[in-house]
């Protein structure tokens, strides 16, 4: 059974419709990436899936008992709120100290248990959030621009971690990003979103789809393609994996 099924979803804020007739399915164990320009409704889609936004129409089915591990776009820990990494790991689930330790070790940030959340670097913070999301063995991991604020090597390493997690635990991943070249190499399926689903498929297929190129320029030209719209340039990459950093 599919983990998440979205059928003909529309989301509107007042008179402003941000998503029209969006359908998608997330199957167990697959990595699905949603790409789209700013304001394309990527975050609204995730918010609707977790129940933070009421759909204007359409339906969202979650597999009964589905455990979601969520990594938000940005999390601001107010400096007046003291909280150690260990306490943060236990925020929503009762877990043992040993489980906290192993989850942090798996996220490549061991030895942080006693540190204050507000003292972590951006990369450490995102990895702790990932570890927290994974600690209760979720069926699906939702990531909303989880690498915002990380530099390029940092976000590449973060997405490699996601692939490792999927390999080791078999959990599905649904993520939203605009860092095209990094995320596309890690995905099984890419959904290109701009208010509606423009195109969908394997990374290589999407990268060469005319709808995608109209939005992002050609190939896997990197995040800068977002702004360049390099339409004259025309060759299709069959192996997006080989393009880690090519802008």
């Amino acid at each position: 059974m599919s983990l998440i099924t979205v059928k003909n979803l529309s989301v509107a804020y007042g008179a402003n419709t941000v998503l029209r007739d969006v359908s998608l399915v997330v199957e167990p164990g697959e990595i699905v990436t949603i790409v789209g320009p700013n304001g394309s409704g990527k975050s609204s889609l995730l918010r609707a899936i977790i129940g933070a936004t009421e759909p204007a129409s359409g339906e969202i089915f979650l597999k009964p008992g589905l455990k979601i591990g969520y990594v938000p776009q940005r999390l601001h820990v107010d400096p007046t709120l003291p909280i150690t990494v260990e306490r943060f790991m236990r925020l929503t689930d009762r877990v043992s100290k040993a489980d906290c330790r192993s989850a942090l070790a798996a996220a490549a940030v061991p030895d942080l248990l006693k540190r204050q959340m507000s003292r972590l670097s951006g990369g450490q913070f995102q990895r702790v959030m990932l570890a927290r999301a994974l600690i209760n063995r979720p069926d699906v991991l939702l990531l909303d621009e989880a690498t915002q604020g990380l530099d390029q090597p940092g976000s590449a390493a973060f997405y490699q971690q996601i692939e490792t997690v999927r390999r080791d635990t078999g959990c599905a991943v649904l993520m939203v990003s605009h860092e095209l070249h990094v995320v596309m190499s890690a995905s099984d399926r890419v959904i290109c979103l701009n208010g509606h689903v423009c195109c969908e498929g394997a990374p290589a297929v999407v990268a060469s789809a005319p709808e995608y190129r109209a939005l992002f320029g050609t190939g896997t030209g990197g995040a800068l393609a977002l702004y360049r719209h390099d339409h004259g340039h025309d060759h299709n990459h069959d192996h997006p994996q080989s393009h880690e950093v090519d802008d």
Partner: protein, 265 residues
């Protein structure tokens, strides 16, 4: 034992500290300080109405505080910033309350008692209301602790774990209204926000987790109540402000110690 007015006053002060300190932590973390202040100011209208209608001051103050908090929550995000709405509603209801009180002929209303509290006049039945209200607030906050903390850190995280942050916000609002209502007699509407915020702020430097901060804040609030009342008795100063003064001195002292330790280390 309860025949002694100082004993009753001390019990009343400690009761308010128990409710205000843990709730105050959330007020500080969520940057709702002005919200607490505004809710308290609005309560004076409730005081005036309950005097005019001859109902319990506690009920009137709580009803108005609750209505104000709910109206602000409803209106927020419809074009006005939160602090603008609070400023309009809170100070308007304070002004209407003060004007309404002036119409109340027949009874001599000692407004100062509601603005700054009248802790030395706490009766046995006041004690029941204060401790009942405080117990309710502590129970609410303890029951929703984990959900409140998650919603405070991130709305999305709360939704993803199956919580409703809007409901948690409502619970905080209700707890705040109850606290304001029970604290009127003790510190008065002008100093309630201090009982919420000062102990929590003083506890911040000593705490490493949210739970320890709430516990330390409660201790600081209780110490302030006891020491403030003793100070007021010895020095013949107003009781409510004396309690807040002790809390403020503790805040300054703990910060100085923390600052010295950090720079010395």
């Amino acid at each position: 034992m309860l025949d002694d007015f100082m004993t009753r006053a001390t019990l009343a002060g400690v009761g308010v500290a128990f409710a205000a300190a843990p709730l105050g932590c959330f007020v500080v973390w969520r940057r709702m300080a002005f919200f607490g202040d505004a809710t308290a100011h609005a309560a004076i209208l409730g005081v005036a109405l309950s005097l005019a209608l001859n109902i319990s001051v506690f009920a009137g103050a709580m009803a108005v505080a609750l209505i104000m908090a709910l109206v602000v929550t409803l209106l927020a995000g419809r074009g006005y910033a939160m602090d603008t709405l609070l400023g309009v509603l809170a100070h308007s209801s304070l002004a209407f309350g003060l004007v309404a009180v002036s119409f109340l002929s027949g009874i001599r209303v000692d407004l100062m008692a509601y603005l700054f509290g009248d802790i030395l006049a706490v009766s046995r039945s006041d004690l029941v209301v204060i401790w009942g209200g405080a117990a309710l607030v502590v129970a609410l906050v303890a029951w929703r602790w984990s959900a409140l903390l998650t919603s405070t850190l991130s709305e999305e995280l709360a939704y993803a774990s199956g919580l409703d942050p809007k409901r948690e916000q409502l619970i905080l609002t209700v707890a705040l209204a109850i606290t304001v209502a029970v604290a009127i007699k003790v510190v008065g509407v002008l100093l309630i926000a201090a009982m919420l915020i000062v102990p929590a702020a003083a506890a911040r430097g000593l705490a490493r987790t949210p739970e320890t901060m709430a516990v330390i804040a409660t201790a600081i609030g209780a110490i302030s109540a006891v020491a403030g009342l003793q100070g007021a008795y010895v020095l013949d100063t107003p009781a409510g402000p004396s309690i807040v003064c002790v809390a403020a001195i503790l805040f300054a002292g703990l910060n100085l110690i923390g600052w010295r330790n950090r720079s010395g280390a």
